[in-house]
Symmetry: C2
């Protein structure tokens, strides 16, 4: 498994050496290397601050930390961009104006993180007590107790912790990219705007409001979205679009209290069986979603986009080895092709308890959390409605809250459907001048050849930038692909943090 | 809802009055009433001792409490019956020999309880901090803060706590039944043996060994098993048999770590979908188990047993109202008929998390805990094998542990199947003299007419008594049917505790 990754990496390095690396990129990388211990220490302190969007005190601590760092780097007009609701995490803004520059580019990242269940992390690990480890957490690894005693920091070491990859790495790379240029006396070619969001993982519910309210500060020619993982081949990647995302939560009801499985089984209804049958009706064994109309709204790719998709490195079988499965959910479609379709996924199921906490009961409820990924052309609310239609066709009474006694007496099958807020996909055209400039700058800044993808599999609310900031976004990730983003044992490869700084600096020097 | 229960109860009382109540039964009930406050206090102290079978220290505290109570009541030869493994909860033994008695009857109950998840209990409640409440916990209730200030204890009040109904109520009723007879100067008609088990909820794994090892102490003409709930009609019940029980745990595997649902959905396999499809294949929407051969081994009822089943009060629609559902899992079969068939039930499902802890991931595993109830004629190991055969027919590689890297690379679908220990059903023939004597004694001791059932829906390892103690068991429950046994908010109606004492005393006075 290691061999395959090494040989891909090696091939890429050989190909990479064909690209002439400009002196400027080499100077930036040297500067990053000279500062690695100082910056590593600072980054560990950054990860120590919890960052759930609803945890107001921690969110403030993150904002203070980031603003201090921006000011120290010489970024100007550092301030919070807020809405009128005190519970909404603020965005953080800063700017750098370059004499004579005609273009303005906004650099975006987010500082909030996914919810965490500490108990799921490896023994001795904690989401907000970062460790340095010398390999990926699913392989054999050692903890590096005292990195300061090493002559150099190994780029293959990793920093663990919630937000280490998603997306404090983006914030860190962007600020230190400007810091590096400034210390080296290299002026950006474009005016810079910095915009760090604080509720991305909570659905970016107030992003549009913030953009509208602070429109004059944020007028720009394009947004660089620094988030998500590099391509699994290990090569740098640019994503011209993202999938949209919408959640739903389904709760099926049985009796109004758990019942003894001996005295009432199989007579009392079992919501775990009901939910299993309902979910089984939604997707076949080849990964095709069976909901009526689920794929009908999809916008087809252009010919140029199709060519770019075909040139994405095919790494499916390597990934299957790394992730330890033989049969993909959609065995007749490649990963790249799967990501250009809308998806229906179960994030979690819960009904009573399993393992040592299991009791001999018939559970009273069973819940499944679903997420839907959307592609260009697909409206998330229509998609949620299609699922609800399907549920009704299975004979369910659908309610928005726990059923009343009357509803329980009246309906054979009862389900509570919660539609969570979501957003649609976004795609910046490959031939747009901004896309072409970004591709050129990244090719200069990176050591390995760039992968170009019409859409990331993951989601960001990028439609909002088109709609409310009147500018096109393009996504440039920095995190290693195997960062366990959104799950336990999240980690950031240190080499990716350093190359991320170089890439962001390269973008600040794009052809204007 | 209340009205229906009341009218059933009223009808029963009217019918009950047709039975002449012997003076002795009335004297016993009077004695119980005179002691209710003292005994209630003692019972609350009993419930305060945690009683998970694996919690060695608490198990010892329970044993000490019970032995003290037995000695105080004049029971002789009080001792622990142990096996050679110190981690196995001991059974507690005692005896009373009656001059001239020719028959010997063992009274059985268990003092261990089901595992508890305190977080699931009502706010302010705790499994081992019992409360007195004035109604069932699912209705409007108040907490009785100081029962000693009341003139009498209301029999409709309830005691909350794990074990309050299942099955410390059994132990308490048996000991105090003998205590009452002794204080009233009424001699038992049969020699008495007391046997209180400490690992029933953990599967009675060492019961056979204890019975074999202490066979000479336990030689008898029959066992009275005091466990389970009264009939839902509110009438006392005798169960001539019990269903067997066996558990299984199924864990379906996807990738070797959780994956981001955007970057890998729907390409990476989702074990929650796989498990849903597997479970859905096991049972149809009318509650029929679809596992090949699942019903083939069932022994049919005799004509006499069929008649008894037909006379069981039909309370299905009342129960549906109380438990808040319209459609039973098996809409074409009554509750009484359902309980005379083997069952397949899901106790719980778990895959990653739902609700606020849900993340946008593809889970790496999905687990379901199943329980199988067995009826006369059905072997539990054969039944487990049928389920495993079915799983293989769905294309799964079945393993007994987490899959190796090689297995992951080799098989399309992987499942871990854990077969838990279990036991078969038991049934004492209706026409057996012991059954007839028990029925007669209970008819004399009870105020309401007796329900006779060939088999309880719940399970007890009663086959063991036939096999290892060479005597037939008959089950006489004391707990209210709505006691939330095995689930959160377990509770015991106080009136049932008092009538339980009377019933056990009546059995100690059965026709020899």
């Amino acid at each position: 498994m290691k061999k395959i990754i090494f040989s891909i990496a090696l091939a890429c390095i050989v190909m990479g050496s064909l690209f002439a690396q400009p002196t400027e990129a080499i100077r930036i990388r040297k500067y990053v290397q000279d500062n690695e211990k100082t910056w590593l220490k600072e980054y560990l302190n950054f990860i120590r601050i919890p960052n759930l969007a609803s945890d107001k005190i921690s969110i403030q601590q993150n904002a203070t930390f980031i603003m201090e760092m921006m000011k120290k780097s010489g970024i100007q007009q550092v301030q919070l961009l807020e809405v009128d609701k005190p519970e909404v995490p603020p965005a953080i803004y800063g700017e750098v104006n370059v004499p004579g520059a005609t273009q303005t580019i906004v650099f975006y990242a987010h500082y909030d993180g996914q919810p965490v269940d500490s108990a799921q992390w490896l023994p001795g690990w904690h989401p907000f007590k970062p460790l340095l480890i010398d390999s990926a957490p699913n392989r054999r690894f050692s903890v590096i107790a005292n990195y300061e005693s090493y002559a150099t920091i190994n780029p293959n070491w990793r920093i663990t912790g919630r937000g280490s990859a998603d997306d404090k790495a983006g914030i860190f790379s962007i600020i230190l990219a400007y810091e590096s240029l400034r210390q080296l006396g290299i002026a950006p070619t474009v005016n810079l705007r910095f915009f760090f969001e604080g509720e991305e993982e909570a659905g970016s519910t107030h992003l549009a409001e913030i953009l509208t309210r602070h429109a004059s500060l944020l007028k720009s020619d394009g947004w660089i979205i620094c988030d998500g993982p590099e391509h699994p081949s290990g090569r740098p990647v640019v994503y011209l679009g993202v999938r949209g995302d919408a959640g739903m939560e389904l709760t099926v009801y049985g009796s109004n209290r758990p019942l003894h499985s001996g005295h009432y089984g199989n007579w009392a209804p079992n919501p775990a069986f009901l939910l299993s049958r309902l979910l089984a009706s939604m997707k076949d064994d080849d990964g095709n979603v069976l909901i009526k109309g689920f794929y009908d709204q999809v916008t087809p790719l252009t010919e140029a986009e199709k060519k770019v998709v075909e040139s994405v490195p095919m790494i499916d079988s390597e990934l299957q080895k790394i992730y330890g499965f033989k049969r993909p959910e959609s065995p007749n479609r490649s990963l790249a092709a799967s990501l250009l379709l809308p998806s229906l996924n179960i994030n979690g199921i819960q009904s009573a308890a399993t393992g040592k906490l299991a009791s001999n009961i018939i559970p009273s409820i069973a819940t499944a959390t679903l997420d839907l990924r959307l592609v260009a052309g697909v409206d998330y609310q229509k998609q949620q409605q299609l699922i609800e239609n399907h549920i009704r066709e299975q004979g369910y009474f659908v309610t928005g809250s726990a059923p009343t006694e009357e509803e329980r007496a009246r309906y054979d099958k009862i389900i509570q459907v919660k539609r969570k807020s979501g957003y649609n996909a976004q795609r910046t055209p490959l031939q747009h001048p901004f896309a072409q400039k970004v591709i050129k700058a990244l090719n200069s800044a990176s050591e390995l050849p760039l992968v170009i993808s019409p859409s990331m599999g993951g989601s960001l609310p990028l439609f909002i930038f088109e709609q409310y900031a009147n500018a096109l976004p393009i996504t440039v990730p920095v995190a290693n692909f195997d960062n366990n983003q959104h799950a336990e044992n999240e980690n950031m490869r240190i080499g990716n943090l350093w190359s991320g700084i170089s890439k962001m600096a390269g973008l600040m020097r794009m052809t204007p």
